[in-house]
Subunit: 362 residues, 4 copies
């Protein structure tokens, strides 16, 4: 069921990838490239924290380690980069990488404002490189099955949509996570926005109304750190969507999607990681998933396999990977979701609905 990239043509050189940013997510992507993605190799790692990059490179066998992304961008042997640095560097790194002729896979969000994103995507277009944004849910097998059904018209015209993200937690917000405000929109709900846009393909988000609060850790409300949010979205085809997020689900990682339309309903989102069930004097019990890299492990591999295949096709002149439905999230998807997140921030500030426009920055 899951998306499986064709194996690379025997004899074709692997796609040589440089990683920019070896934090938690970057390290995970590096591991995928080195061990799980066919036809790709981890060629270099750049991180200001050279020691961390060195350790990772040693473990995974990457030949080159550097403190500076520029070293990677200047390396003619490198085909593509994975940008997993802090979000504030994303837009300028995209532009630089494109200018250096590197294909780009960038973690979300692609930028923090629409203006800088516009500049980055213009650079991508001018360079003619492949650009992909890390909306990994599109590669989860149940979300793909839902998308395939929607593309086949199973639900008819969408009328009501829902997407939610509840991160696993313990009932409080760890200190490391008490990062700059608006994370819930820019880093978390941006996934849900993309899912909704993808499920409601062909329609544009028109207006959002966002409510957000610090309910997990009320003491952080003053500092603007919001951990719970609900967003209502109106689309150009009339459909009404709800996106919802919370940073501390004690039962683990909960990601779901639902589309209700003129002909029926499609649902995605596994509520139990394992199908093993226990029946005792207390009733029925089952385990729930705990980590995103558990729940989405296949998706994280497949998004990079798709990326590697697309880069290989560009480099070697072959056919790009194909799918029965729109799959790869590209620049326009990054921009649409970012515009929604930014409009949500406005909505929380004003307490009123806000029009979604992809024109302006923050």
């Amino acid at each position: 069921m899951a998306y499986i990239t064709q194996d690379p043509t025997p004899g074709s050189a692997p796609v040589r990838i440089g990683l920019i940013g070896s934090g938690w997510m970057g390290a995970f992507h590096a591991d995928s490239i080195a061990r799980r993605v066919p036809g790709a190799s981890l060629a270099a790692i750049a991180d200001p924290n050279v020691e961390s990059a060195q350790t990772l490179a040693g473990k995974l066998g990457a030949a080159k380690v550097t403190a500076s992304a520029e070293d990677i961008l200047a390396d003619p042997d490198i085909d593509a980069v994975i940008i997993a640095s802090p979000a504030r560097f994303h837009a300028s790194l995209i532009a630089q990488a494109a200018a250096a002729g590197k294909h780009v896979f960038c973690e979300k969000p692609a930028a923090q404002g629409l203006e800088e994103l516009g500049a980055a995507l213009t650079a991508v277009e001018q360079a003619g490189v492949h650009f992909q944004i890390g909306f990994n849910r599109r590669y989860a097998e149940d979300f793909q099955a839902a998308k395939r059904d929607l593309a086949a018209g199973v639900a008819g015209t969408p009328q009501l949509l829902r997407s939610l993200t509840r991160d696993p937690g313990t009932g409080s917000i760890p200190h490391a996570a008490r990062v700059p405000a608006w994370t819930i929109f820019l880093e978390t709900l941006i996934h849900d926005f993309d899912t909704l846009n993808w499920f409601n393909e062909g329609a544009e988000p028109v207006e959002v109304y966002a409510v957000a609060d610090a309910l997990v850790e009320p003491s952080l409300r003053e500092q603007g750190f919001l951990d719970t949010a609900v967003v209502t979205i109106r689309y150009s085809n009339g459909a009404i969507a709800v996106a919802e997020a919370n940073f501390s689900a004690l039962y683990g990682y909960d990601v779901r999607g639902e589309v209700f339309g003129s002909k029926g309903m499609v649902q995605a989102g596994r509520s139990t990681e394992t199908a093993a069930r226990r029946y005792t004097a207390e009733g029925l019990a089952a385990d729930t998933p705990r980590l995103n890299v558990e729940l989405f492990s296949q998706a994280y591999t497949d998004e990079l396999a798709d990326f590697a295949a697309a880069v290989r096709a560009k480099r070697d002149g072959g056919l790009p990977p194909s799918s029965a439905f729109t799959l790869t999230p590209v620049g326009a998807d990054a921009r649409r979701a970012l515009a929604m997140a930014l409009a949500c921030i406005e909505s929380v500030k004003s307490g009123a609905p806000v029009a979604v426009t992809e024109k302006a920055g923050v």
Copy 2:
């Protein structure tokens, strides 16, 4: 699991009930009283359409039939009434019944405005009669199990809530249903509002933001008939809730509730009426429920059994029915849910969030 009323004390006289309004819902309630509710009997039926009342009375063995509700209210042998007339008569009938010393079970909504509801509930209070509103979902066994768990603290403090109603349909709105506008809030979502209030007991709805449209039958938009709605509700304890409704689910009747809180999540809502499953070359298939009286048949009986038991206790001096958690929906519940529905109508008109106030009428 389901709420089971104690059998009436042997020898105690049945609660004699008069039905006001013998339309579809009234006829169903009459059938429940006559055949499924212990310790109650159907004594009389009032309907301007006397013929319809006569037919029903013949089938169920009710002795008295009349065109006028007054005849029932004046009958000293009648303990209580079920009000199932059109909604515009509810408030005045409640007031009249209370003044006549009759206990009252009233279908939702209890009124069309807060002022007339206030008058009706004052009459109830002055007369000291029992009043119950027809929020039948409280009696569905899975909603009760969820409420029991919430009362036991399973989910902790509520942070995110959801309630939805999707009525079964065929993709268009039948002519008979093209009734006065705002039905979706006053007749349908009012159930969801009560479910959310009940699940989030102790908190008050503070503000609503409602979006509504005619997506099933766009041609009715001009006439103000809205078939799809999403409401965001903020509660006094910070919890954010979403209520959602649509008038035409091709797969049948879909009613669900979900509460996410500081300790976990509780879900109610059966998506399949029967547990029988088919596995064929096309995959897995199962039936879905089609009618509210199928899905909620036990709930419809149990709400009336609860009513009959409460009336009996008032009449005979015994103990009222008890439950491990708040169960019977009373006047304050009717008012709270109605205030939310009215605020939603304001919100749709203004396109902005609206404060919920139980003070004023429309």
Copy 3:
């Protein structure tokens, strides 16, 4: 979805039913007749324990109470009897009731040997009365949905079948249940045999191989009280079935059926009584059903409603109740299942497979 008997023709007299045996099951049936079955009335109760019968009659409003079944059989005002006495009296009571012109609903097993059953069914046939055996699972809505699907060919030709019964328990066998041996075959698995025969309609059980043991209460093994059994059945169409029973499931009442065939699989059997689910730090949890009268409450009512409708049709000359598939369990069904239970007892004794024959007694 569930089988719903047509309401009796208005004006037709209710079917007057006499109950023989007011023990636990008899009392439950009496309650169904008195309160839940349309067009039937509880006219009399016979039980050697007159006091118990009196109490029940008082509660349910039955006019006549007697110590002797003969009084009921001699009463010309009684249309039909429900036989719920101990199993050793079933066959002779069936024969007597038929001879007295009463229609008969008999709890399982219809007899303890094939010879006495043969005599009883001959009496039924000669009297031309309606006979129904209490295989209530046929009336459970999920088993009916499975049967409907099988009748429609969804699973193709059956190849593998499974039916199981696990009674709720606490890990030991209550003293009251330490009844004569072979209960597990004659009283419990006889339900599963009927389910398998009904699902595999058109084929005959040819051979059984039974294994049984006292695993819940090993101390009872010496006295021949077996609490766990597995039976393999070969059918004339080649299908292989497994029936399984245990007397002490700590998680409650577990009844399931499965048919795998040339085109697919059909499953029945609800594993959770309520669809309400809890998600906490411990994972997912849900309640499980505890009592047969909870799990099968609708089925118990519907089998009697079917019986009452069939009796009414015989008495008043109308059409018998109809269904899209074979539904009412009759004499041949009682005999087929009993023959299997008896063959199982032989198999346990001999440790070898035993042919199923409906010719001989025990």
Copy 4:
């Protein structure tokens, strides 16, 4: 949740593995070793069909290709072998490999008779090499979760067990699969036997009664090719188990396990590969899994990762992989399951129960 081998110590040489037999299963294992198992490398492939081996080696980068297993066994650079040749060669290859000092992973069945298996396992013991049999279900995450729960006592003492395998099919048996008789016991149900033994750890299978037939393709009955079987197994602790297999499930691959005991029940077996669900006018629908390498892809990788880790520990002197419960299937497990399969063949021939003995061959 799933079993995850610790990454090999940085700097430790990968375990060099030689594949014997490059058919469908061998090729899949080679792919796992080359691409998905940490700390292992595919060093050589032996297959009489050298061309097939060559193609596979080219694709996966194995340096050595040979027609003869002896070449691999003689290579001092090779640590271990995967035996995936036809089953009739398994036992002698195990013995030869052990004699050559190679660690052995062997596909099931480990032999075709108990005598030759005894000789092979003696060779393994004398050489002190690690031996593992390909009972991959032990590595499926839901079967592991069930085993973990059983080890924790969740179900108490097992009383009833069930394991089933239904291979995906189209309603007929492909020509390529019309292989020598008894496949259903020696190649398919042997998995179920191991699952039951593992779930009922500590007890020994005592007696089997097997029924088998050609129901999918009755025309093959004469040639002894049986496609449907049900086996009853009695264990030394009294538990009764049922194993069931069929070669043509139109709805896909269906593998399940269930243990019922004195304290509860544990179930494993995913009935749907994806959690995506469709609700339409026809009801609920979902996809079902189709291929074993889809359903068990993680399990196939993990069994080899466990093997590689055990070999590495033996070779380098470290600690073997550990688990909270018995995991790795070894020689005694291979023998126990084979003895059951052989007893089943006897049972089908004789039509009677047969004692399980691990002493004799066929």
